[in-house]
């Protein structure tokens, strides 16, 4: 670590201490020697890299518990030396599954591009737990393209789904759209568009009547995205559709987005008693206070 970093960290530490933040407390692990080791490792986080690396390496190569070694891996992820990244990769490739997965996550935390790229081979050769750890590492590092590559080259539906879900959490709209244009299009993509907040892609699917089941799913998923644009699209779909299923999906979408004002508007505009009943039920399900507006209007009519 350079002098600036050290000074910065020292200043941070001082600020933390002055505000009463208890940093570096020796943890309450049952074994006092182990607790002290963990505290000593955690203290190394602000130590000069060339001082910290040999000590951390020694801990990893000695007969220590996985708890201690896991802390050592975290410290390793914070050391900005190529040897530290190399060491992380070595542990990631080691036989101990628990430590291997932890090392993979730490590579994600370190964000080192070379080490992250090295995880691709491990993903292909690893078991499900290791593959999940690699995806988590990419999530932590924000490596959307590497996750998209995994999705594009997935060997089965489960692998594809896991990668797409990760892209959704990462908000990787561009990568998800690219996967769609590649032709791959299971249902999980609609959920991914919703979670990533991709209104445009969902709207396109929601207005596409070539596959009614998929269209209905996309309409409901619009509700997850929410917002004024979504509300207006759902109203448009409801008003313009002749299909009972599609209109029901639009209402489900409004339920999910909490657009009770739209449901009330549809209620007031409707002359169909069955439809009015259904819309009123929806307002009640939404636990909307607008139900009372409808009731007040009904009583006003009686007066």
């Amino acid at each position: 670590m350079n002098t600036f970093t050290k000074t910065f960290l020292t200043t941070l530490a001082l600020l933390a201490m002055s505000s009463g933040y208890a940093q570096g407390e020796v943890s309450e692990v049952d074994d006092p020697a182990e607790a002290l080791k963990i505290a000593a490792l955690e203290a190394l986080i602000t130590a000069p890299s060339d001082r910290a690396l040999p000590l951390v390496t020694k801990v990893l190569n000695s007969n220590n518990s996985n708890d201690v070694k896991s802390r050592a891996l975290f410290i390793l992820s914070q050391i900005d030396l190529p040897e530290a990244q190399q060491q992380l990769l070595e542990v990631a490739r080691s036989g101990d599954a628990e430590l291997s997965q932890e090392a993979v996550r730490m590579i994600g935390i370190s964000g080192d591009p070379d080490a992250l790229a090295g995880l691709s081979d491990m993903y292909s050769a690893g078991d499900e737990d290791l593959r999940d750890a690699v995806l988590e590492a990419y999530l932590i590092a924000g490596e959307t393209q590497l996750v998209a590559d995994i999705a594009a080259n997935a060997k089965d539906a489960d692998e594809f789904e896991a990668a797409v879900e990760m892209l959704a959490v990462m908000g990787a709209q561009e990568e998800l759209r690219a996967l769609r244009s590649n032709g791959a299009f299971p249902e999980v993509m609609i959920e991914a568009f919703a979670i990533s907040g991709d209104y445009e892609s969902l709207r396109e699917l929601a207005l596409d009547g070539s596959d009614v089941e998929r269209q209905a799913h996309a309409i409901e998923a619009l509700g997850i995205v929410g917002g004024d644009e979504v509300d207006q699209t759902l109203m448009e779909i409801y008003r313009n559709s002749d299909s009972e299923d599609i209109r029901e999906s639009a209402l489900e979408g409004m339920l999910i987005s909490g657009y009770d004002a739209g449901v009330l508007e549809l209620y007031r505009a409707s002359d169909n008693i069955d439809e009015k009943r259904e819309l009123l039920e929806m307002l009640a399900i939404m636990d909307s206070d607008l139900v009372f507006d409808v009731i007040d209007e009904a009583f006003a009519g009686d007066r």
Binding site: Q23, E25, E28, L36, K58
Partner: protein
């Protein structure tokens, strides 16, 4: 009678003299309320400015300023006590390291910034024999910050303990 009075006066003066000597030997002696400061040597050989805030004859806050430690918006008028030997400064600060004391963290940090091996010995003792978990953690933190061979030997020993 005169002789007796002379003896009494001489005894009182002698006692006062001894008492004054012991007061002045104890750095920094009696301090008024407010901020006081002195200069000593920092771990990196540069100047270390130590600040203490006194209230009712007791320190309530310590701060240091050096090449590697700075405080934003810390611009106070302090009574300057001048240059002080590093060991003397450390020993005075060490008195305020006590378990569950709010002042301990400040004192520990201030000591860690001083020159020489004494800060490392003090921090090492706290790590090895201290009873206050928080204080031990802080001592470890400052040891790791020190960039001192002795400190890292100690850390190495701690980390090499057999299971």
């Amino acid at each position: 009678m005169k002789t007796a009075i002379r003896l009494i006066i001489a005894a009182v003066l002698f006692a006062a003299c001894i008492s004054n000597e012991s007061l002045s030997a104890e750095f920094p002696g009696s301090l008024d309320n407010g901020w006081h400061t002195w200069q000593t040597t920092a771990a990196d050989g540069s100047e270390l400015q130590v600040y203490v805030s006194m209230r009712s004859d007791k320190p309530v806050e310590f701060r240091v300023r050096s090449n590697s430690v700075c405080w934003d918006n810390f611009d106070i008028e302090a009574n300057d006590l001048g240059p002080v030997d590093s060991v003397q400064s450390i020993i005075w600060l060490q008195r305020f390291i006590k378990p569950q004391s709010d002042l301990s963290s400040d004192a520990l940090m201030a000591i860690s910034q001083h020159a020489g091996e004494l800060p490392i010995e003090i921090l090492g003792d706290i790590v090895k024999t201290g009873t206050d978990r928080e204080l031990r953690g802080e001592a470890l933190f400052w040891l790791a910050q020190s960039d001192n061979d002795g400190a890292f030997l100690l850390l190495d020993r701690l980390l090499s303990e057999k299971r």
